[in-house]
Point group: C2
Chain length 320, copies 2
């Protein structure tokens, strides 16, 4: 059931002992939501903990500590979790069917919780959490402000993406006024690269080839490149943004070799080119500007196959 802000706040006011769950592979938004809500509930005299099916990357540690003890509370809240599957396998099995309140900003939310507070216009789930905190009448402390700012900033590419609204920016302004250390947070999130990432990026740029009158830029990352750089697949997402950034390119492709020898394709496009339609030709899917698929074969055959699908898409577009 979809509920409104007041109903969500009432649920929090009328209950106690909250188990707040973030999604697996936690990011700045889900952790910011979890820790900000947890502190707000505690300041209302409630008992609350934050848990996650995975450990949180060290760079987020300034926001708080996940509860590592196996504690269960009956009032389970999922934050920024669009689907019970995203809790991770173990947590999905244990908690997925018993979530009482989900607070989320994904239009694709599966409505798996008893009650869902959903606002797809929010650039970050932290925007909704801040509204909940205000509805509860809780003061926004420096630590809450750090958490909320982190969610706003990380889910919007530091206010760069098209999901940013005037509300996002005004909330960020408020959080700075409440003490958020925006400058430090942005350095950690956007101005820090690991050495293994830089090494992988270098190899990725060396591998880049241009196709289709330079409208397609194609990066191929092999297992050898992971080994040479000391990096792993977790660092590929940032690289996947690069090929589309090149002037004149409308389709950027980053293809990484999986341990089983297949290739996972990440496609990013500019307006006017439907990445999900192209990836669908190869059995994949996704969003219009960002989609993916998996292809077999050696690197060169796999690349040729993907490029031929992009070419086919361009020709069909031309004829339609």
């Amino acid at each position: 059931m979809i509920i409104d802000l007041k109903t969500a706040a009432k649920f929090l006011e009328n209950n106690d002992d909250f188990l707040i769950l973030t999604h697996a592979h936690p990011d700045g938004d889900t952790l910011g939501c979890g820790f900000a809500l947890c502190e707000a509930l505690k300041s209302c005299g409630k008992n609350a903990i934050v848990r996650c099916g995975d450990t949180a990357p060290e760079k987020y540690s300034y926001m708080g500590k996940l509860c590592e003890e196996d504690i269960e509370y009956e009032n389970i809240i999922a934050v920024d979790v669009a689907d019970a599957k995203l809790l991770g396998k173990e947590f999905e099995e244990r908690f997925g069917g018993r979530v009482k309140l989900c607070i989320d900003h994904h239009g694709s939310n599966r409505l798996y919780a008893e009650q869902t507070l959903l606002d797809p216009s929010a650039a970050a789930a932290c925007e909704i959490i801040l509204e909940v905190i205000k509805e509860l009448g809780v003061e926004v402390t420096k630590s809450i402000a750090d958490c909320i700012f982190t969610g706003l900033s990380t889910d919007s590419g530091c206010f760069r993406y098209s999901n940013v609204t005037p509300r996002t920016l005004r909330m960020a302004a408020e959080m700075i006024e409440s003490g958020a250390d925006h400058s430090k947070i942005n350095v950690i999130m956007f101005e820090t690269k690991t050495r293994t990432y830089v090494a992988l990026e270098r190899l990725a740029l060396e591998s880049m080839k241009m196709f289709l009158d330079d409208r397609c830029a194609f990066i191929t990352i092999t297992r050898d490149m992971f080994r040479e750089s000391g990096s792993d697949e977790s660092e590929v997402d940032a690289i996947a943004a690069i090929p589309r950034q090149i002037e004149g390119v409308s389709v950027g492709v980053t293809m990484r070799e999986k341990p089983d020898g297949t290739f996972k394709v990440s496609m990013r496009t500019h307006e006017g080119v439907d990445a999900s339609a192209i990836c669908a030709m190869l059995g994949g899917g996704g969003h219009p500007r960002a989609a993916g698929c998996t292809v077999d074969g050696d690197a060169q055959n796999a690349r040729n196959l993907v490029v031929s699908c992009i070419e086919k898409y361009f020709k069909e577009e031309l004829n339609s």
Copy 2:
């Protein structure tokens, strides 16, 4: 003479025929200031043009067109120009001594104009221009909003730098509400790289070496690398941000070979390391987090010299 907002607005209201000057090598902030102020003055029934000692990069063309005819008006306004020298050699000689009003946000402003409206707390000079436009009672149109948003966004690294204040973010929110195409502007400014830049970045990453227990990352760009990539010095600034971004690095150095064979050093540091103090050892200077100097010798000697100065600085810090 330093003046306040009301005095600046009165000057604009009581005069006509304005020649607005941006700084040479124009960027998003100075051009945003120029075109926004020009449109505002025209909407007050005034005559105004924007000129610059250089041509403007094509990517800024959506904001307006610089006047290319050699027109002079008596009421000269300089926007985002901290020093008459920054008008460029020709414009400095012709106009530098006759600027009636300077609107700027650089604390280092030389107060070369008759009247200066200065706010060093502004992340972008466009923040001050927006206040002037409001003081004039002019409606913020979509085209003014695009100009002001561009200045706010480009001078703050898309709201990432420490110069961002709540006012910066609130003004950006307002500009979006007034029609600024924030998403398109951010793609042009922050998600678009030329092929020559990408080629130079690849070579720069290949050249990167670590020193001083990995606290210093050092990029060397030679004339050969400019030739091989097809790039030039105008694209080095973006690369200069890279070495400091590496985890654990507190001093990032990017050294480029000049046509005369000397090396220009760009140093970026994290808090706690004074780049201007290190560059001063080599006859240079700048700000605490960003400074520069010029060194002679072949690439390896030049690099060793810079690294030895950083080492000396670290040792002195340790002993102080």
